[in-house]
Symmetry: C2
Subunit: 195 residues, 2 copies
DNA sequence: GCGTTCTTGTCCAAAAGAGAACAAGTGCTC
DNA sequence: GAGCACTTGTTCTCTTTTGGACAAGAACGC
């Protein structure tokens, strides 16, 4: 049986090469000033190959988020009334930014960051909603219940907001500290809404 | 115009991956114990791809020699009666072995070394003959003249002999010193034959 | 303005790689 | 020595990659 879709070895190589090329370029110069051909040259990949996988440069940038969120282990609901298990993504993502943002400086630029964060928000919204729907307690229906889609969108957008603030202020807090800020901001609402 | 033959970007990538995989494997285990599938796994290359480029494992090993000798700059004949410019390859190759042999230890094994040296001898013979034929002085014909093919074969085989001795004795001499040995062995003959 | 040069994104035919199946050989152990 | 697992090298079809051509759109100086 033949491997299908994105499992093909050649595809994986191509995606890796392109992503690594972009990352290493951002480490050297402003994202906005990077031109597709530079990425191709560094990745040693043909032009048409690039466009079979990505719509444009921004699409390539965005695709890295899937790399970050994709392999994130799903949370296991701990027994008890605590609701913070649904914020499982928070600390890992903060830590990821902490590790990588220093190398990037602000060469990503406002436009690049906007694209990145908007996509992060969208993907996080979906991811959280998915996990919430798997949760048993969401089975309880009630007239006044807030739909999980709204809650997940709320959490994702608040997360990105906090992340943005953190970055704008030079990441003076440790990942654990900013994570705590995020949790104290959202947990009360979460408890009230989902109890 | 389309690129042809070995210039294709995909081919270069494949060859590099396979060669690097083999080298890194030799750094870890005996050459004889390395199996094709291990090379494929490490290079992340398909089986059929391997066999479109190489006859077998030995062929891959040998191909590295071309990498070593291929980019070697051709010698420039210095004016004067000195003949040692034709030994231009000697020191670079000794130095190459000096740099890499320590990492390889003796994991290459007697069989691997025999294959390698036999091929090195063959390629060197051709390379030297080629350079000699480009040389002006070889134009001089004479009944007693020794054909350049014989001289190049003599030089190559003596070189490999010295190289072998050097390796067998644990490379106790510096590259410059063993190079000197080689030159003192061959120069008198060279002068006598080609003056 | 206007031409020149660079960039973007699309399309295509041809080449290379993937992977599975296969026969044949090797080596092992029971 | 029969069975089994593994390796080698070949062949096949299908998928991806390639590079060149192209149109359309910046960006630039003159």
């Amino acid at each position: 049986m033949r491997k299908i879709g994105t499992e093909d070895r050649r595809i994986q190589k191509t995606l890796s090469l392109l992503r690594e090329a972009l990352v290493s370029l951002i480490a050297e110069k402003r994202y906005d000033s990077i031109v597709v051909k530079e990425i191709l040259d560094r990745a040693n990949v043909g032009r048409s190959t690039f466009y079979t996988h990505f719509r444009d440069k921004d699409d390539l940038l965005i695709s890295g988020i899937q790399d970050l969120l994709g392999p994130m282990p799903s949370p296991t609901r701990t027994p008890g009334k605590s609701q913070d298990w649904i914020l499982w993504f928070s600390l890992p993502v903060f830590e990821h930014h902490y590790r990588h943002a220093h190398a990037w400086g602000d060469r990503i630029g406002p436009r690049g960051r906007a694209i990145l964060h908007e996509h992060l928000r969208r993907v996080l919204t979906e991811l959280i909603a998915e996990v919430m729907k798997k949760d048993f307690r969401m089975g309880r229906q009630s007239a006044r219940r807030i739909p999980p889609e709204v809650v997940s969108a709320y959490l994702a957008s608040t997360f990105v907001l906090v992340l943005n603030w953190w970055l704008d202020n030079g990441m003076r807090l440790q990942p654990g500290e900013i994570d705590d800020v995020f949790r104290r901001l959202t947990l009360p609402t979460l408890v009230a809404v989902r109890s």
